[in-house]
């Protein structure tokens, strides 16, 4: 059995992926039931199928947000897997090395200073994310792509850019500031179909690009020498991966703001559940979807009736994971 993404896998991969999908769909279904009052499973199912009085609420209000959680989570998981492969380091994900925060800077500048359209915001976000990738790589150049140097420099860039983002939000006009406060915490609240059409299409295209690059990405995991002597052109391959990976994280950030730690945690949890070699894409995407859907359910229900930004949940839970991971990585050395 071979997976769609070109990694040969055993039964454990299939069972693991099916398990993650089923759990994710369950979480999504429970989230669909949640509103000012809880709908019953029967009402929710009927609503989804277009019958009953709750159809409008469920398909127009709740479904867009739940879909956004699943698709954006998958995109973040993919982007995390891409950068963890590139850096050969479980800490090397876009939310840790400052790419996500920089993508948000781009989105903020285009929105607050230029009041751009959704497509312009997305473009600003991608451009700023790519610029950050270039800066981090240039500063870490001596140590190459893999190695702790790039991660440490990325963490510093992340801190500086996050501070800049806060300053931008504070400096913005009061009206804009009100809107950007929830956004800058990373939120899916109030998402409607209109908001997600463009990002969903972009993410689908990026995922196809990544699926086509997957085999080369795994070949490159054998180290620069063996990758090169087995025919990988490392330069163009890495450029493609950086563009696709930044594309994923920036597309999500442009709409939902910076949602941290999903990209960091999903690839590692996914590979453990599926018993995979290296850091494969499919388990990372599925786990990302599950993680963000579950976090959004918590964000909506913890402080009922006022929802929290989902970024607060992922930061709280993910922060604990990051500390554990740092301790493990330091112990290895």
């Amino acid at each position: 059995m071979r997976s769609v993404l070109g990694q040969p896998g055993g039964p454990r991969l299939v069972v693991g992926c099916v398990g993650i999908v089923v759990t994710g769909l369950l979480v999504a279904f429970v989230t669909l039931m949640h509103g000012a009052t809880w709908s019953t499973p029967g009402e929710t199912l009927a609503g989804l199928l277009g019958h009953g009085e709750q159809t409008f609420v469920i398909t127009r209000w709740r479904a867009p947000q739940v879909s956004a959680a699943l698709v954006f989570g998958a995109a973040l998981g993919l982007s995390g897997a891409v950068f963890q492969n590139l850096t050969r380091n479980p800490l090397g994900s876009p939310d840790i090395i400052g790419l996500e925060a920089s993508a948000f800077t781009g989105a903020l500048v285009v929105t607050a200073c230029l009041s751009g359209t959704a497509a312009q915001v997305a473009t600003g976000s991608v451009v700023a994310g790519l610029a950050a990738a270039v800066v981090v790589y240039a500063l870490a150049r001596k140590g190459g792509f893999s190695g702790m140097r790039l991660v440490v420099i990325g963490i510093a860039v992340n801190a500086m850019v996050t501070a800049t983002n806060q300053w931008l939000v504070i400096r913005a006009d009061l009206e804009v500031a009100m809107a950007t406060t929830a956004w800058s915490a990373g939120s899916l609240n109030g998402t409607d179909w209109h908001d997600v059409r463009l990002p969903f299409a972009l993410i689908a295209a990026l995922a196809v690009g990544l699926a086509l690059s997957a085999r080369t990405m795994h070949q490159a995991a054998l180290g620069d020498d063996l990758a090169t002597t087995s025919g990988v052109r490392l330069g163009p391959h890495r450029l493609a991966l950086v563009v696709l990976g930044v594309g994923c994280t920036a597309t999500v950030t442009a709409v939902a703001g910076p949602i941290s730690f999903v990209a960091l945690a999903a690839p590692q949890i996914g590979r453990r559940i599926t018993g995979s070699a290296g850091v494969p894409l499919l388990p990372a995407a599925l786990t990302g979807a599950l993680l963000l859907a579950a976090s959004d359910l918590l964000a909506q229900t913890l402080t009922r009736p006022v929802p929290l930004p989902v970024g607060m949940i992922t930061t709280a839970v993910g922060g604990a994971y990051l500390i554990w991971l740092l301790v493990m990585e330091v112990r290895k050395r």
Partner: protein, 256 residues
């Protein structure tokens, strides 16, 4: 000129120049052994021959064509290389690692052909690791892992095979297994270049011996001509006697 030929190479890292004016012709269909003391530039030469190291000057040609003008995948279908050090992706099994050797032969589709499967099976059998097929790399001993990596490079099925110290982690019996395997590959028509530290093994199994010192080739030719007491003294700084190997009759170095 057919086969792999290096012309007048200058090789180095940053400020450090390792070799200048290094030329070498790899005889096609033969087993070539490269010997020389630590840090004399053996690995650097091999890396230049498989385009891992860009020469500062000079060029490496494959059948008369500069390597830099060939497509990387094309080169990978013709030249296989086993580096001195390797890293395996975490959690990968032996079979899955060996399958990665098929990379240059596969296109963007996901099809895994019978040819691919046959190459992997043959590589596992040739290196004697078929019993380990479902184990994870990190659970293997150094010598077992070394043979698995060799299997991966064999699965690449290249006419040229360059190996950097493939016997390092192997016990004595497995060292000879590996050398015999290389001789069989040579008999099957492949060209093999191998860096060895044991001069006696090199002299016994190689058709062509290249002795290096301080980045230069100081002698190249049939083992019987190359391995002399003078040369060993000059290259390794070791006073010795050279006597015929009692089993193979090849030159054998015995230190004073």
């Amino acid at each position: 000129m057919t086969g792999l030929v290096a012309h007048d190479l200058t090789l180095g890292y940053g400020e450090r120049v390792v070799s200048t004016g290094l030329s070498l012709a790899v005889p096609p269909g033969r087993l070539t052994a490269v010997i020389g003391p630590n840090a004399c530039g053996k690995s650097t030469l091999l890396r230049a021959l498989v385009r891992l190291q860009e020469p500062r000057a000079g060029r490496v040609e494959l059948d008369g064509v500069d390597l830099r003008r060939l497509r990387p995948r094309e080169v990978a279908r013709r030249i296989g290389f086993l580096p001195q050090r390797m890293v395996a992706p975490e959690g990968i099994s032996v079979t899955h690692l060996v399958r990665r050797g098929r990379y240059p032969h596969r296109d963007w589709r996901l099809t895994w052909t019978d040819v691919d499967e046959a190459a992997v099976t043959r590589a596992l059998l040739d290196t004697g690791v078929e019993d380990l097929a479902s184990r994870r790399i990190e659970e293997l001993s150094g010598g077992q892992a070394q043979r698995v990596w060799l299997a991966m490079v064999l699965a690449q099925e290249t006419e040229l095979l360059l190996l950097d110290e493939p016997t390092t982690f192997l016990d004595l019996a497995h060292q000879y297994d590996l050398l015999r395997l290389l001789a069989r590959l040579r008999d099957a028509g492949r060209t093999v270049v191998v860096v060895l530290h044991d001069v006696n093994q090199a002299a016994r199994f190689a058709d062509h011996l290249v002795a290096m010192q301080a980045g230069r080739v100081v002698a190249a030719g049939a083992p019987a001509e190359v391995v002399t007491a003078d040369l060993v003294e000059q290259v390794f700084g070791l006073a010795c006697e050279v006597v015929p190997d009692p089993v193979a009759g090849s030159p054998m170095v015995v230190a004073h």
